[in-house]
Symmetry: C2
């Protein structure tokens, strides 16, 4: 499918559509109007129509949306019809949590390798996957067709690891390190800055108090 | 400080300013121009001025920003000068990862209690904090002045737990469960939907391929 440049705000909403459509599908619902979807998702029907129009619409006047079809199409737009090979750097608590989260696998995100700089951790297995030393990372990425690296490491060292990963051909980085990575434009980076998220919550609590 | 309604997009950028200013401060830098900050943060100087003007500006013509002052002020805006008492629901891998992340504590987010529905896990300690059964949650929240609950549990059950928490007076929920919570308007919810984030990365990888 050919797309025009879609804003990251719209892209950011697609997984939510995908999630709700998946739930409707699981409930055996075959069609849904933009108004019904709007009620469930608590966004306006016009927003839904606008968002989906970015990708060609999918709705039919007077019929609404076919749930299964729209679910599959959004899945394809999200690239979920393809498998992704992932490595995770950092076998600490967060790394373990991510490896143990089986939902990712169900969506085609397959953890192939885990790397850690702590020699004590290397050689262990997490959900059957061997933890390897950092020195093996570059060769592993090249030889196993790894396209996504997950950085579950502290800020220190993350920039350097990202550079190594870029050098050995990684395409995307899912970054949990609390630092902004500087990578070439063609590398996709998706940040999960947990502290930032918690501070945002703190701001909203605080501004609410000031109002009251 | 009195504020007008600030967009969540601007609010979402504040922690990043705070992070960069903290780094400058740690490096002993006392003042910074919006242009210098723009170079480091890779956003436009005009964006920085606009964002900060929402809160009264802080800059001085020809001087720029006083790093320490601006850091402190943004910290206050983010509510980081106050302590928050947190509980975490779910002592699985993710819950453990969050409890073990000491940076939150340094910012005044103090984990006071951990709750889990698995009787096998209850009674254990994570970083010195006892894991308690869910049945004790409501009384604990009321008696320990808990303002934030972290939901590190699967989708199933999350809506119900959120309702319980609201009933016993929680003010904010940091939600890692992959479901949208329906809570009264005055309750602040900050979602971390990890799957959504990974799907967004997948979309960006996929749309990049289609271009190429």
């Amino acid at each position: 499918m050919e797309e025009k440049e879609i804003s990251q705000t719209v892209v950011g909403r697609l997984p939510r559509y995908f999630r709700y459509l998946g739930e409707l599908k699981d409930e055996g619902i075959e069609r849904v109007s933009s108004q019904e979807l709007s009620d469930i998702m608590q966004v306006t029907a016009s927003q839904i129509r606008q968002d989906l129009n970015n990708f060609g619409g999918f709705g039919q006047q007077g019929y609404g949306y076919n749930v299964g079809f729209l679910y599959d199409e959004i899945g394809k737009i999200l690239g979920l019809h393809k498998e992704h090979n992932l490595i995770i750097v950092g076998a600490g608590h967060l790394g373990q949590a991510l490896v143990n989260y089986t939902n990712f696998e169900r969506r085609g995100f397959l953890f192939r390798g885990i790397f850690d700089r702590d020699a004590q951790v290397c050689g262990r297995k997490i959900r059957g996957i061997l933890v390897r030393p950092m020195e093996e990372m570059e060769v592993f990425v090249r030889e196993n067709n790894i396209d996504i690296a997950v950085l579950a490491i502290p800020k220190t060292g993350a920039v350097e690891v990202a550079e190594q990963l870029v050098d050995c051909g990684i395409k995307g980085i899912w970054n949990f390190a609390h630092v902004d990575l500087r990578v070439p434009e063609q590398i996709q980076v998706e940040n999960v800055h947990l502290s930032d998220s918690l501070m945002k919550l703190s701001y909203n609590l605080s501004s609410r108090e000031n109002e009251g």
